[in-house]
Amino acid sequence: MTTKNGSHQRLLILGAILVAVIAAFAGWSVMSKPAAQAQGAKRTKVVFWNEMTGPAQQQLNTFVKDFNQSQSKYEVVSEFEGNYNEAVQKIINTHGTDASPAVFQSMDISTSQIHHTGYTTPVQKFIDEDHYDVNQIAAGARAFYANKGTQLSMPFNTSQPVLYYNATLLKKYKITPPPVNPSYSDITRVAKQLTDRSHKKVQGMTVEIYGWLFEQFMANAGVSLANQEDGHAGTPTAVNFTNAATVKTMKWIQDNLKAGDFVNYGAGANAQNNETASFLSGRLGMFMQSSASIGQLTTGNQDQLGITYYPHPDGQKSNGVAIGGASLWISNDKPSDVQRGAWEFIKYLMTAKSQAQWQVATGYLALNKDSQKEAVLQNLYKKLPATKVPGEQLRAATPNATNSGIFLQGLIQERNLTQTAMEQIYNGSDIQKSLATAQKSMNAYIQGNNRANGY
């Protein structure tokens, strides 16, 4: 009997605790609601999902704060959603629920996928309503996020792939720097001279195993990766990895790796960190990366940084590369006033002043043409003239189907497959065979995907 009483007592205590906890939660929610409502009573809440980290996140949060202070109609709430890849699935899976965002940032290669979900309102609608002058935004960036004349989303954080070189090291070994718009053989020359004259103390060059760079080689050679003009003319049904230009590019890298003038840093975030570390410590002469790395490569770097355009195959003119980065989309599952708020916020981010600040803070390019006149950007160019190069590269290229991104679903898969092919090629495998394997898998993927979506 005593044990029974004991357990009853314990149950009672447990129950009391439970009730207390529930009461506390209920009380808290009742108490906190009016407080929150009092602040945002007149303002329409606009939830903004982004995937920015580091300095970019800080600058973005400043923009959000400034936007909220600049007007009293909308309140933008910025929420960080992890990395680009995972954010895409989160955006799709929360659509139509209270948890979904009103405006979100999504990466370059998700463009076709996000558009085809039918979950968004093209920003073109607001551009037309407001007679917004889109010509102030860089054409190369706009073309990436447009389909058949409709602007689907607004380009935001935009970068260009560029080639970085250590100008101080080149001077030390009396090597003529590569030209602003170099060919493959220009780069080979510098890499070879660096390796030889430093007696292998300095590694000449590395090309990261990265699908993005693979795509850019094709864009710059003027070759379509997917049929239907890289998807800009219709739904692609196949890819073409085994074309002559790509084989030539891969052979260029493979030969140089064999000769020891190029080195292999592998794939992924680790490769990026390692090549950056080597470059900053003067053990690597050249590498290719997003222009968004400029900030990281200039702070605390005693050596002078050199930047050139993305290299192009010998014997032809460069076609220009596609941008990288992400754009801003407006969800269509929110009422029109929320969507309007999202658009107002996007407009705020795209002003000449915001864009200039954005480039200075992050290394992403200022997309508003008038930003170039802003004092903050002028000061940056004066201090670091090389930072002008990526913007010039962007403006130098005329947008066409092959350098405006690939409008294809499953580009994450494509990058995965091309990276595997690159890894095999870098390790000495047969180029044609490695590319053909990747091509076969990608075509099977596209076929299945088109069937599942009823294209």
């Binding site: 890849n85 699935q89 009823g454």
Partner: protein, 316 residues
């Protein structure tokens, strides 16, 4: 408390007479179905929502192509499975998983047992060693990954610095397929060691001392004592740890994601990682579901085999 629950939850196992005796009090006999429902209800509900429904849904999705918002659209029967099992990439993934699992389980058990055997000796300051040996239990996956990334890093890594001192050839640990697999196995074993050590250490301490004394009087050598006294006595624990480590190894994700992300050249692309890639990066839920089903079947099969063959050798 215990006695009130058991007849309700397992009514068929209890002799009728007992129920009838209770029935006089509050008629459990008549209402036992309702009691069963009341007691089992919450757990059935929770399991149903979080275990059984997802399982069936996965099975269902694995028979379809899924569109870009993850909805099943085209029924293709077992084609996902056929495509997977005939694809060389997936076969490579299966093979990598086998190497990884065998490596992890074998080294975790051997090293864990070695450490436990060392720590069980009563020496001065042994407490300190016991704490150190079990310390990896308190290390989170992310911390461990960063720690090992530093060690394996190509230019500033500890391993390569030692190698340079000894004039050994430079190993690109995480960018060459073979070494990358070794690197992730080492890291995983290190992660597992704390837990395995602690469990085996506990088991070793439970072995009755008189057994050793008797063996010593018989003139048994230390190694004979280990194989004929220690091992049989701790076999249930060894069996438990091997099963847990095996299942854990099949499900390894964090370290792989942070250290190699399945690379280089898909050398460490384990089955779980492929599921993650297909579901959460490629948005290909149908294929990912088929991969999950295959993984679940393999784990179940191995666990079953372990129970069937290893358990016979276990002395309780």
């Amino acid at each position: 408390m215990q006695q009130e629950i058991t007849p309700a939850s397992k009514p068929s196992l209890k002799p009728k007479t007992l129920n009838q005796a209770n029935a006089k009090g509050f008629n459990l006999h008549v209402n036992d179905k309702w009691y069963a429902l009341a007691f089992l209800g919450p757990s059935v509900l929770i399991l149903g929502v979080f275990v059984f429904y997802p399982m069936l849904r996965t099975l269902y999705l694995s028979l379809f192509l899924t569109n870009n918002v993850g909805r099943p659209t085209v029924f293709i029967g077992l084609k996902n499975y056929v495509n997977l099992l005939t694809s060389s990439a997936y076969q490579a993934s299966l093979q990598a998983t086998a190497v990884y699992v065998i490596g992890v389980v074998a080294f975790t058990l051997i090293l864990g047992l070695l450490l436990a055997q060392m720590a069980v000796r009563k020496l001065a300051g042994i407490q300190w060693f016991r704490t150190i040996f079990s310390a990896t239990m308190g290390v989170s996956v992310s911390v461990a990954a960063i720690f090992w990334l530093f060690i394996f890093s190509p230019s500033i890594g500890l391993f390569d610095q030692i190698g340079t001192l000894l004039h050994l050839p430079l190993v690109q640990w995480l960018t060459t397929p073979g070494p990358a697999m070794i690197a992730v196995i080492i890291s995983t074993v290190w992660m597992n060691l704390g837990f395995t050590f602690l469990i085996l250490f506990g088991a070793l301490q439970m072995v009755p001392q008189p057994l050793y004394e008797a063996a010593a009087i018989e003139g048994a050598s230390p190694s004979y004592q280990f194989f004929h006294v220690t091992l049989p006595m701790i076999s249930p624990t060894l069996f438990f740890t091997s099963t847990v480590t095996l299942i854990g190894a099949f499900k390894s994700f964090g370290l792989i994601d942070l250290m190699t992300a399945g690379g280089p050249n898909n050398a460490t692309n384990l089955m779980v990682y492929q599921v993650y890639r297909d579901a959460f990066l490629n948005g290909n839920y149908g294929l990912a579901s088929a991969e999950s089903v295959i993984l679940a079947v393999i784990i179940a099969l191995f666990t079953l085999l372990q129970f069937k063959f290893l358990e016979k050798r276990v002395t309780y």
